[in-house]
């Protein structure tokens, strides 16, 4: 670099050309994207058939629902409660096996632990497929293969958990400092020894945190899965709604809310302890 350059600065009058203007003309891509976005917005609103009438009518119906739902019907509370516990168990069992399977899958999918890059790519695409297909669709697939009931729900949650956990486990595994693993490798440890002695203990707190998120996620999804017949409280909710027994529906919703909140509280307490 030449130091003389800096000293010979030009006069302020000649700065116009170099000073950035206040506004910049948007690029062609920006134009196209804006037009596409705006046309989808307009078409979307049009197709939804939004009208003052419908919104107003909707409010009345909503008031109707709330009026009929109060007070919540407690007559079948023990049955509903049992059904919610079943839903919770579905979520727990599904997450447990999902997490159990996620660990080896994540090890295969991480660049620093995979036996071969091809295996890494293969497992990664399988995991992302599990994640991108929504859980309700998995539930439909499992209902037609294993029949109605909790088993289909559990299988759905296993797949959903793998899609979620294997990805985050693998991200954590790839972040792990390779020093400790090398230290174990230098003792003459086997591949399994290295992974179980360094990678897994180092990643463990993060794995637990992710798994707890997976439980919370699984409970929310287990509630919905009943709607397509994959077991759990969703069936009861959907039945109560279609029979217009809104007071019972409200009872179910309240209990779901309680269970979800309790689980979230417990899991966040555990997370604080572990991490």
């Amino acid at each position: 670099m030449n130091s003389e350059l800096a000293v010979k600065e030009r006069k302020a009058s000649s700065w116009d050309k170099d000073m950035p203007s206040r506004w910049k003309r948007p690029s062609l891509v920006t134009w196209i994207l804006s037009i596409v976005f705006i046309s989808f917005m307009i078409s979307g609103l049009h197709n939804a058939n939004v009208s003052v009438d419908r919104l107003f009518g909707g409010m009345i119906n909503m008031g109707n629902f709330v009026g009929n739902a109060f007070p919540p019907d407690t007559s079948r509370i023990d049955f509903i409660f049992r059904s919610i516990i079943l839903t919770f168990e579905m979520a727990l069992v599904g997450t447990f096996f999902g997490v159990l399977l996620s660990l080896p899958i994540a090890l295969l999918a991480s660049s620093n632990t995979t036996p071969h890059p091809a295996i890494k790519h293969a497992t990664r695409s399988i995991v992302s497929m599990m994640r991108t297909i929504p859980d309700l669709i998995w539930a439909l697939i499992f209902v037609i293969s294993v029949g109605l009931g909790p088993l289909a729900g559990i299988l759905t949650i296993i797949v959903d958990t793998i899609g979620f956990c294997a990805r985050f486990f693998s991200e954590r595994i790839e972040e792990i400092d390779k020093g400790p693993a090398q230290a174990l490798e230098s003792t003459g440890a086997s591949r399994f020894g290295i992974i179980s002695g360094s990678i897994i203990p180092i990643g463990f707190p993060s794995f637990v945190g992710t798994s707890l998120f997976a439980v919370e996620k699984a409970i929310r999804s287990a509630v919905i899965l009943g709607l397509v017949g994959a077991g759990g409280i969703g069936v009861e909710l959907s039945t109560a709604m279609s029979l217009r027994r809104f007071d019972e529906a409200l009872m179910i919703i309240i209990l779901i809310l309680v269970v979800v909140l309790v689980v979230e509280q417990i899991s966040s307490q555990i997370r604080k302890k572990v991490i």
């Binding site: 020093g179 400790p180 230290a183 003792t187 440890a189 020894g193 290295i194 002695g197």
Partner: protein, 268 residues
């Protein structure tokens, strides 16, 4: 008998960087060699080649007469068992106990991995881990998590883990570079004591000339991938060391002063 033989090793990285250029030297059994060099001198690459974490582009490395370059991982394991390592950043498993970390030193010896897990380890192995800890004076911290210890203590745990391995050769990569001077000296003293009493072969990377002079009975100095000095400490002319050392400092110093000049002018 030669413990480590480095035979015309060269390393060129894919981006064309030449890290090592026909480096050759050998280490006798029971000898303590200090490998000296600044950042970018190629000493880390050389070290990583000796430990087979990296393959040299050409040349051969022999441990106890066995060629390790190009060896498959499974065949490397029995050789790695003989080589204990100490790292700059200790490389302990932070969220495990000190005791468990030391037990993992035996990973290369047990038939199954679980036999080194503290709950399942044999009584002898658990006793041996405590003996190793007692050699570095840390038995009272066996139950602590590794990351609760000070840097000096962590490095001593790492030495205990290395002892657990019953190594014949010790490789130490800047073992005191991330410690304060006092803790660093304690660790060096301890390491050298242990190495002497067991008659181990040592290759120790350092970048401080004063410490190198105190501990090594032989110094090998690397500069931009070449061996520029290989001599026993007694035969070394103090003035020569000083020149070699100061010359490098000056070169770096010059670079510094150029940057400062540029800043003064105001271009940057």
């Amino acid at each position: 008998m030669k413990a480590v033989e480095i035979d015309t090793i060269s390393k060129v990285y894919p981006d064309g960087t030449k890290a090592l250029n026909n480096v050759s030297f050998s280490v006798e059994k029971g000898e303590a060699v200090v490998l000296l060099g600044h950042n970018g001198s190629g000493k880390s690459t050389l070290f990583r080649s000796i430990t087979s974490f990296e393959q040299p582009t050409s040349g051969e490395i022999r441990i106890d007469g066995i060629t390790i370059t190009g060896l498959k991982k499974r065949k490397l394991r029995p050789i790695r068992k003989k080589i204990g390592m100490v790292f700059q950043h200790f490389n302990l498993i932070n969220n495990l106990s000190v005791f468990q970390n030391v037990l993992f030193g035996a990973l290369g010896q047990t038939k199954f991995t679980f036999q080194t897990y503290s709950p399942f380890a044999s009584k002898e192995l658990r006793m041996k881990a405590m003996e190793c800890l007692s050699r570095v004076g840390l038995t009272h911290l066996a139950k602590r998590r590794a990351d609760q210890l000070s840097g000096g203590q962590q490095q001593r745990v790492a030495i205990a883990r290395m002892l657990m391995q019953d190594p014949e050769i010790v490789l130490a990569d800047e073992p005191i570079a991330s410690l304060d001077p006092k803790a660093g000296r304690e660790v060096m003293d301890l390491l050298w004591e242990i190495v002497r009493e067991r008659g181990l072969t040592v290759v120790c990377i350092l970048h401080q000339m004063d410490i190198a002079k105190e501990y090594g009975n032989r110094i090998v100095a690397l500069k931009s991938g070449n061996v520029v000095l290989d001599s026993t400490i007694h035969a070394l002319n103090d003035k020569f060391i000083k020149e070699l050392y100061e010359k490098e400092v000056n070169e770096e110093g010059d670079e510094e002063s150029i940057k400062v000049d540029v800043k003064k002018v105001g271009v940057l």
